[in-house]
């Protein structure tokens, strides 16, 4: 091994790295638009951090796939994975370019947040009420996306942000969620987050 720093993420498997890259690229795009909509520098900052992480992941996956290729068959198959990784990185670069639009004086881009709010697949904020039975349960346990079609991109808990929460992340009363999905899905989620309806329970199949 060459001298110098050991690249990050080499302890992860190729599949773990690729899954991570997919998740990060998706959440970065959502966060980038959210930063423009809500004019939030916090969120923009997080996008920049994720962009740097993505570079490291892309470096790691190149090393891992090169090490895994033993035959021509291997190389053909793994090249497909590298193409996907490169695409995920392109998406992350595009998200990085989007947040840079924040540097444009806000008076010069009023149409931007207006326009984004009109978007069909909308990003919205929603608060978990004290009365909601969503609190103190994990996102995975609830199956938020399967139940409502809404994806939780970030959670604001008091002064702290949790970005791209895991299925194991527990929701708390008074959490503010940034969610993405359709209007119908949002209205359905609002029924539960407000405590107007109980979260539906399904029998184990």
């Amino acid at each position: 091994m060459m001298e110098g720093e050991v690249p990050e993420f080499l302890d992860l498997s190729v599949r773990e790295i690729l899954t991570e890259m997919k998740d990060i690229s998706e959440v970065m795009v959502d966060l980038a638009y959210a930063s423009l909509m809500f004019d939030s520098e916090d969120i923009a900052q997080k996008v920049s951090e994720l962009e740097a992480e993505m570079d490291n992941l892309n470096y790691a996956i190149k090393i891992k796939t090169l090490m895994a290729a033993r035959t021509r068959e291997d190389a053909i198959q793994l090249s497909g994975m590298l193409q996907v990784a490169a695409a995920a990185e392109s998406i992350s670069n595009a998200a990085g370019d989007l947040v840079k639009l924040q540097s444009v004086d806000i008076e010069r881009r009023p149409f931007l947040s207006f326009m984004l709010r009109e978007s069909e697949e909308k990003i919205r904020m929603i608060t978990v009420s004290e009365k909601s039975d969503m609190s103190n349960r994990t996102i995975g346990d609830l199956g938020v996306e399967a139940e409502t079609g809404m994806r939780i991109i970030a959670i604001k808990r008091r002064q702290r942000w949790i970005y791209d929460p895991e299925p194991e992340t527990k929701l708390k009363a008074r959490d503010t969620l940034i969610v993405r999905g359709t209007k119908d899905g949002y209205e359905r989620l609002a029924e539960f987050s407000s405590g107007r309806s109980h979260w539906p329970e399904h029998e184990e199949g």
């Binding site: 899954t19 291997d74 198959q77 994975m81 392109s90 989007l98 009109e118 996306e145 999905g181 359709t182």
Partner: protein, 192 residues
Amino acid sequence: MQEMERKLLELKDTSELMMDLAYSSLLYNNHDIAEEVIFLEGMMDELGNEIQKMVIDQSSQGGDVMKSLVVLRLQMAMEEIADAAASIADVVLRGVPQHPVVQMSLRDADVVISRAAVAEGSDLAGRTLGDVKLSSISGMFAIAIKRGKKYIFGPSRTTRVEAGDMIIARGPEDGEKYFAQLASGDERVPSE
């Protein structure tokens, strides 16, 4: 909203749908969905050209240069996302079986994207999404409807489904089959 804003939004919706579809096609090795991505890329190119022309027109007629710059940069970023999505779909369509190292790798979420054509005799034809309660009965949320060459993004409860429409929906894997059968007319919408 002005014409240019409308076109930009359409570009944004298209690029996001492409990204969703591309990753989903990879997860489930779904060629139908991958082909949809390639089709959408053609739309992106056309829309992108129209937007660029409009921006240049407006600028040369003394319009706000800063706004033009913002629009162009937005358009370019969305285009980059769309190109990346097409590149992922390309991997799927090339049909390279996935390497054992990564096989099933992305199959962590149990949410699938599925498309189904609405047949003449389907209960969905001629009714609104809210009327048939598609999401409550099948668990599948319509994220887009393709009608001829046009897409309706983020259809709502009041959107009427027509025979011949292609519904693109997202939901749990076990809702996929029922959704397909509702669209083909093999299953009926339960009466209240």
